[in-house]
């Protein structure tokens, strides 16, 4: 099973997947060999405790070490909000998260894990968030690559997704931005920094509502390095709690970050922020410029909303929304230009501060998806994690440009793919060497004919020379000879005819060994040609051509040659 996520939009049973699709009845463990989690976002791992503890699964769960570390924090946070704040019952407990995490097995990048004696999996770097991975799943010679979410353009803290040319039978790729080609990230970064810088210089305060993990770290790094470069002094704060724990893991998993951070961490770990300090509620009223990162990202509740209310009245201040906002949230309202907001208790909040929008998204765009397909060279592509209409466009493009089949199944739909599995056949060394010795130059363009006997025994295949096959199987060899009579109009004596045939063949078959034997017959390699007078018509000679099965090619060529007749002898 690939990923085990939850749906953010529902608060009832529909938020978790319906696992009865897999089992009908019976235990999940009997149906699944393993579960693979690509990264720690809740839409990819949110249902894991429910699945393993409440539905019941005891097999291994594979994820990368950063995912393994950060995933339980997020699950716990999610549980808290659902149970403690919304008071939901029948939800998984903390203990369940712990039990679930005990079933996790860590997979490192490019490590091949043998799940059982058939199935093996291998992880590739995917960008997107810390620890995100793409997985190659292989059984025998057939393989599937599942990308999870990935990003083909590097950002300030993560590198770009990369996969080798593994030529899987099927590539399952996300397609969030199936119809978008994005602008260079540099413009975005520059704009962002410029806006923050200007506001701070003016003495204003900047509020950046973020979700705790992922983009937040990228923006932190961006601001931190900018502050460092420009020698700025204004304080930057980050709301505490979840993020501190997460930052700790970012510091630990340096190998999963980008080149810059990896190369410089010996001098200084980029996640050990010099300028970014923990936020305290009281700081919001401090005078002077500051930058605050606060959760949650859409200004719908919590600390970010509190700070927003405090600062909204001053036109010197600014709020920067670094991501998408769902309709109905404060974030969405101010982005769509509303300047007067109704808060609870019929208060009206006038928004005088500047509102900026800045898209920092970490999914591959259409070009990136195409690039990944180009890198992996799959036989089939399957699009998931996107909108049907957009996928339709991408599907058409993929089919057009790579000439591979592309599928985009709806939820619950099954796709069946034809594959042509390769069957390994062992060849005996002796046979191979013999054939190698015959051929001269290696030429990939021309296939070569190789004669041998295929032995199928105990579900393995071997190609051996026919002598060996006979010996092994204890069979006697049968000689198969073809004989053909060719009529020649030649009034001369038999010996002369033979001589003429001999000289004719000699002149044509330069690279074969043509011999005239003393008993009046001609041999070409192992093919025998004898001449006799026709019993009825003395003007016609009958040529007897005889060859073995192995020389079929040459033999039939020779007969066709002789059938054309001899050239007129010089008289």
């Amino acid at each position: 099973m690939l990923d085990c996520g939850m749906h953010m939009g529902f608060n009832d049973d529909r938020r978790f997947p319906d696992f009865s699709y897999i089992t009908q009845n019976g235990r999940l463990t009997d149906f699944l060999d393993c579960v693979i989690i690509s990264h720690f976002h809740l839409d990819h791992c949110g249902a894991l405790p429910y699945f393993s503890e409440m539905v019941g699964y005891d097999g291994p769960i594979y994820m990368t070490p950063p995912t393994q570390a950060i995933c339980p924090i997020l699950l716990e946070d999610y549980r808290k909000i659902a149970v403690d704040k919304k008071g939901e019952a029948n939800f998984f407990t903390s203990q369940m998260i712990k039990d679930c995490m005990k079933k996790v097995v860590a997979v490192h990048l490019h490590q091949t894990v043998q799940v059982d004696d058939e199935l093996e999996i291998k992880a590739y770097y995917a960008g997107h968030v810390l620890g995100a991975a793409m997985f190659q799943i292989k059984v025998g010679s057939e393989s599937v690559v599942y990308t999870g979410d990935y990003n083909m353009t590097p950002d300030r803290h993560l590198g770009a997704a990369w996969i080798d040319r593994c030529r899987p039978n099927l590539l399952i790729t996300e397609s969030t931005y199936a119809t978008t080609i994005r602008d260079s990230k540099r413009c975005r970064e520059r704009d962002f920094l410029k806006k923050v810088h200007e506001t701070v210089e003016r003495g204003g305060k900047v509020l950046i509502p973020v979700f705790a993990l992922g983009r937040a770290q990228e923006l932190c790094i961006l601001l931190e390095t900018f502050w460092e470069r420009m020698n700025l002094k204004a304080p930057i704060y980050f709301s505490t709690g979840l993020t501190e724990k997460a930052n700790h893991y970012y510091k630990l998993f340096i190998t999963w970050t980008n080149q810059k951070i990896r190369k410089t961490f010996v001098q200084r770990n980029m996640f050990e922020f010099k300028h970014i300090k923990a936020f305290d509620r009281a700081f919001a009223d401090n005078p002077g410029p500051m930058v605050v990162f606060a959760t949650p990202g859409m200004l719908h509740a919590g600390q970010s909303l509190q700070i927003f209310r405090k600062w909204a009245g001053n036109e010197k201040n600014m709020v920067i929304m670094p991501g998408y906002c769902v309709q109905g949230t404060v974030g969405h309202k101010i982005l769509s230009g509303q300047r007067k907001l109704e808060m609870e208790g019929r208060q009206v909040l006038e928004v005088k501060m500047q509102v900026e929008y800045m898209s920092f998204s970490a999914h591959a765009d259409a070009k990136g998806i195409m690039q990944l397909i180009g890198q992996a060279e799959p036989e089939h592509v399957l699009l998931v994690h996107g909108e049907a209409k957009k996928m339709e466009f991408l599907k058409q493009k993929i089919e057009q440009e790579f000439r591979v089949n592309c599928y985009m199944p709806a939820n619950g739909e099954t796709v069946t793919l034809p594959t042509s599995p390769s069957i390994p056949v062992g060849i005996s060394l002796g046979l191979l060497k013999r054939e190698m010795a015959q051929g001269l130059l290696p030429d990939a363009k021309k296939p070569r004919l190789l004669q041998g006997t295929l032995i199928m025994k105990d579900s393995n295949f071997r190609l051996v020379s026919s002598e060996q096959a006979l010996k092994e199987l204890g069979l006697a060899e049968h000689q198969l000879r073809f004989t053909c009579r060719v009529h020649l109009h030649d009034a001369r004596k038999e010996q002369e005819t033979v001589m003429r045939v001999y000289s004719h063949l000699k002149s044509i078959l330069k690279d074969h060994c043509v011999q005239h034997l003393p008993d009046g017959s001609v041999t070409v390699e192992s093919i025998l040609i004898q001449a006799a007078a026709h019993s009825e018509d003395p003007g016609t000679k009958v040529l007897l051509v005889s060859w073995t099965y192995q020389d079929e090619e040459l033999g039939s060529y020779l007969t066709s040659l002789l059938k054309k007749g001899l050239p007129q002898a010089p008289s």
Binding site: T153, P154, R156, G159, A160, W162, I163, D164, R165, T179, T180, I181, R182, D183, S184, K185, R186, C187, R188, E189, R190, D191, L193, K194, K195, H197, T225, E228, R229, M230, N231, N258, Q259, K260, L335, S336, G337, Q354, V355, E356, Y357, A366, K367, M370, Q371, G374, Q375, K390, F393, Q396, K397, E401, M436, L440, L441, P442, D443, A444, K445
Partner: protein, 963 residues
């Protein structure tokens, strides 16, 4: 045991002989039998392959002389035939290759043997090594056609080998030796006219990636040797671009580039359509595609090569910057386009609207091409690559393309400006430099300037200084732009006061480039008022000086500007013109005479009166030959003084003037030393007086070293004169020592050494001897046979008379000569706070210095630290610490580690820069060092050093360690 002893005897024998070989050539031959014989005995003695291998390894460590190579080769071959162990054979084969490289040895005699053993060899590794040997032989004999032909045949025969190593070597051989003319050798045989290209091309589809790579490399090798590659390989190479292995793809990219340079104009069809395009455009598109390859090695390679494809049509070129953005299938404008529009509509980006970048028109889904639209967006991808190596390569390529195409330069500006915000400093720096290089072609828009100027706050000094240089040669379009730049520079000045000089210089150029834009700003900048007098600004304020520098330089070409100046501005002008003359130009001010000589720039330097003066004064000196000694001395003294003053006044003549003055100084010293009256006094009385003469000799030596190594642009004819002067000084030294020392024994050595020097001089400068008519050395060489045989006392006597008689050599002036100089910027030596550190530990001292006209500073510039106790420490800076900001200029930024035992109170240490020299570097190296396999490290010993910067004092205080 006996054998062992024998070996030792041989070894010792060899050693002794080798020591002597430098002196006489005769005994050299003795080594020949011994060398090979020793090897022979060693190899016979070896009981196991491991032993034999050891002996061979030992043997390989020592060089072999050209004469004995053949003997050694025979012995090696003999053992080769006998040897059963493949590893030993391998080593022998490799030794054969190395030996055949020995210069002075013609390897054609061993070729037959090598080919012979090749035929019987079974081991693939040995085969490969043997082919390598053949390659060495073949490259040694480039003009022998028959041998090359034969080797190529051998290579072709082994191409079918099953081992990739052997095929590799065969292809290498073909690439290096394959005949260049196809038809030239028809007479030899049918085989000889093989088409090497076709053979190599067949291996493009070999099953082993290493062989494929080797085949492409061989093809490139053919190209390098001057063979014109056929156009047909272009298609083959294109297929290799999608190879599974990165090294193959990397080589294929190179090959495609080569072909595209050879046949830029030929037409190739576009697959799956009827259109045709130029080959160079097609290749450009393909290489662009490789910029998004999976392997970064290939990406770097591709990005680099893009830069050198200048023939590509502009239409394709501009595509590289265009990514065709879209969002939900609707066309979207890039941020760059939006910025441009906003600018032209007279409004700055508000960014306040969410829908600011909302997609506009619908896109026809059929028309969108997501990949393989050739060059599309290649640079956009390259510039935001994950690896900074790729980004740097892309920036470099942008630079090269922009230099050749002004329209492209205009387009790529936005992207370069974006790179100013890269996370890696090297990339930022590189993009600033790039921008500077293309700045002739571009004019910055105001919003772009804004982004550029934002970088001025960068904390890295390199970045800021590079940016100042960039601003020096930037074109700004509006007066607001100039104002903005000035404001930002002043901000920079207050934030980083150390940038003062660099900012002033930058404003100087900014002013002189944009006089008309500065003009309307003048009242505001000087804060003058039409009716009221304003307060006089502080003259020492660096910011005020900066403003003045800008204005005065603009005023130079804008005669109406001085009318706007207030009284104190004129006064300040006079002051600045004097104190900062390199920054403030001479102005035509109303009511004032033009300060200093109005050297109009169109007069060529050789018509320059000061140049004439220099020439004349030198000629005057050279013309005097037989003046009375007193007069000569005086004239020399005056001329030296004149020259020194001239050097101070005219910076462009400083090098020549100083150089000549130093030479005259040497001459003067020599004359003075010879004029000593006491030469004729008996030796015992002379002791005290000799000080002056020996000091003169010593000083002349020092000065000649300075002349030889401190000036760049010194040519051979000057070097001869300098060496000649040094020889005279040595002669003087010899004479003085002869007079002051008693006994003859030490003199013998000295005399011999001196005669060796003369001999060496003769060998080095044999070609220049005719120019030295009548000189000291000329006469000396005449008398050489006599000197060789005479006693030291006699030699001294001869030398003395000759020194007196010899004439004064005319020093021809070099075209371009510059004196090396260095200024230590940091440490400034002003601090009163001692640098405290615990004794026994080290403290790092940041040293920042600019070097001018130093050739090869990486190996010559050293830092010296003098401690108060007289202890001196020499530090060799790392090569990476030197930067090269411009031609002839270098910047040394490094750290010096100081350490000392505890002191009772703080004290000053002196830090200075030294120029190390080694006069032996001119001696041609003995041949076998180059040819030998393990050539001993070429000695980089330092013979002496010349201090060439003012010492800076640093206050330090090593504290005793706390217990």
């Amino acid at each position: 045991m006996a054998a062992h002893l024998k070996k030792r005897v041989y070894e010792e024998f060899t050693k002794v002989v080798q020591q002597q070989e430098e002196i006489t050539a005769k005994k050299l031959r003795l080594t020949k039998p011994s060398k090979s014989a020793a090897l022979h005995i060693d190899l016979c003695k070896a009981t196991s392959p491991a032993d034999a291998l050891q002996y061979l390894l030992q043997f390989a460590r020592k060089p072999v002389e050209a004469e004995s190579v053949e003997g050694v080769v025979r012995i090696l071959l003999e053992h080769y035939y006998k040897e059963n162990d493949a590893s030993v054979r391998l080593k022998i084969a490799s030794l054969l290759g190395l030996l055949s490289k020995t210069s002075g040895f013609s390897p054609d005699c061993i070729m037959d043997d090598a080919i012979n053993i090749l035929q019987n060899e079974k081991s693939h590794q040995v085969l490969a090594q043997l082919l390598d040997t053949l390659l060495a032989i073949g490259t040694k004999l480039p003009e022998n056609q028959a041998i090359q032909m034969r080797l190529v045949d051998v290579a072709c025969k082994h191409l079918t080998d099953t081992s990739h190593g052997v095929r590799n070597k065969c292809l290498q051989l073909l690439g290096n030796l394959g005949s260049l003319e196809k038809s030239g050798t028809k007479d030899t045989e049918g085989l000889a006219t093989r088409d090497v290209q076709k053979i190599i091309g067949d291996y493009f589809s070999d099953q082993d990636p290493r062989v494929r790579t080797a085949a492409i490399k061989a093809m490139l090798q053919l190209h390098e040797r001057g063979l014109k590659l056929q156009q047909t390989i272009y298609n083959q190479a294109c297929k290799l671009l999608s190879d599974d292995y990165e090294q193959v793809r990397s080589a294929a990219v190179q090959l495609i580039w080569v072909v595209s340079q050879l046949y830029p104009e030929s037409i190739v069809p576009i697959p799956s359509s009827n259109e045709e395009i130029r080959l160079v455009d097609d290749a450009f598109g393909k290489i662009c595609h490789m910029v998004s390859d999976g392997s970064w090695v290939v990406r770097v390679q591709a990005a680099k090569l893009l830069g050198s494809m200048e023939q590509v049509s502009s239409h394709f070129l501009e595509q590289t910057l265009d990514k065709k953005l879209m969002s939900d299938l609707r066309r979207k404008r890039t941020a760059h386009e939006r910025a441009k529009e906003l600018y032209s509509s007279g409004e700055f980006s508000s960014g306040r609207k969410w829908g600011d970048d909302a997609p506009k028109e619908e896109i026809d889904t059929g028309a969108v091409n997501l990949i393989e639209s050739g060059a599309c967006g290649a640079f956009v991808h390259g510039l935001e690559d994950e690896m900074y190596e790729v980004r740097i390569a892309a920036v470099e390529a942008l630079c090269m393309l922009a230099q050749s195409s002004p329209s492209f330069a205009e387009k790529c500006l936005d992207f370069l400006v974006d790179m100013f915000n890269d996370e890696i400093e090297e990339v930022r720096l590189q993009s600033i430099h790039t921008m500077r290089k293309i700045s002739n072609n571009i004019t910055l828009r105001e919003d772009q300037l804004d982004t550029v100027l934002a970088v001025l706050e960068d904390s890295s000094r390199d970045i800021r200084e590079a940016l100042h240089e960039l601003l020096c040669c930037t074109n700004v379009s509006t007066k607001e732009g100039i104002h903005l730049a000035l404001v930002e520079l002043l901000k920079n000045l207050t934030k980083y006061p150390t940038d003062r000089d660099s900012i002033w210089k930058c404003l100087k150029f900014l002013g002189s480039r944009h006089p008309t834009l500065v003009l309307p700003l003048v009242p505001e900048l000087l804060s003058t008022h039409p009716f009221f007098d304003t307060a006089e600004p502080d003259m020492d304020d660096p910011a005020y000086i900066a403003v003045l520098v800008l204005i005065f330089n603009a005023a130079k070409t804008c005669p109406t500007m001085p009318a706007l100046f207030s009284d104190h501005t004129f006064r300040h002008y006079a002051y600045l013109r004097d104190s900062l003359s390199h920054l403030v130009p001479a102005l035509r001010l109303p009511g004032r005479k033009l300060v200093s000589s109005a050297v109009s720039p169109n007069i060529m330097p050789h018509e320059d009166p000061s140049q004439q003066f220099l020439q004349q004064s030198l000629e005057r000196v050279y013309s005097l030959q037989h003046l009375d000694p007193q007069g000569t001395q005086e004239l020399l003294e005056f001329t030296i003084r004149d020259l020194q003053r001239l050097g101070e006044l005219q910076s462009e003549l400083a090098g020549v003037a100083d150089f000549s003055a130093t030479y005259l100084q040497c001459q003067l010293l020599l004359i003075k030393a010879l004029q000593e009256k006491l030469w004729n006094v008996a030796a015992p009385l002379y002791l005290k007086q000799s000080d002056l003469a020996s000091a003169a000799a010593k000083q002349i030596m020092e000065e000649t070293y300075k002349m030889e190594f401190m000036y760049s642009g010194v040519e051979n004819k000057q070097v001869v004169i300098i060496h000649h002067m040094r020889l005279q000084a040595k002669a003087l030294q010899l004479i003085v020592t002869a007079r002051t020392t008693r006994g003859v024994d030490p003199l013998f050595g000295m005399c011999e050494k001196f005669l060796q020097e003369v001999d060496f001089f003769q060998r080095c400068f044999i070609a220049d001897l005719p120019h030295l008519q009548d000189s000291f050395v000329d006469k000396l060489l005449d008398l050489m046979p006599r000197l060789m045989t005479s006693k030291p006392a006699e030699v001294v006597k001869i030398l003395q008379t000759m020194l007196r008689q010899s004439t004064f050599l005319h020093l021809p002036l070099p075209e371009q000569i510059h004196k090396a100089s260095a200024t230590i910027i940091e440490p400034a030596g002003e601090s009163d706070n001692p640098l405290r550190f615990t004794s026994g530990l080290v403290v790092a001292l940041d040293v920042d210095a600019t070097l001018e006209h130093v050739q090869d500073p990486q190996s010559t510039v050293k830092i010296q630290v003098l401690y108060p106790d007289g202890q001196a420490q020499m530090i060799h800076p790392k090569p990476a610490d030197f930067r090269n900001p411009g031609p002839g200029r270098h910047r040394l930024i490094t750290q010096v580690y100081l350490s000392h035992t505890a002191w009772t109170e703080p004290c000053q240490v002196e830090v200075r820069l030294l120029l190390a020299y080694n006069s032996n570097a001119r001696i041609p190296k003995s041949p076998w060092i180059e040819g030998g396999e393990v050539s001993p490290q070429v000695e980089t010993s330092i013979e002496g050093t010349i201090p060439f910067s003012k010492p800076v004092k640093v206050y330090i205080m090593p504290k005793p360690a706390r217990r």
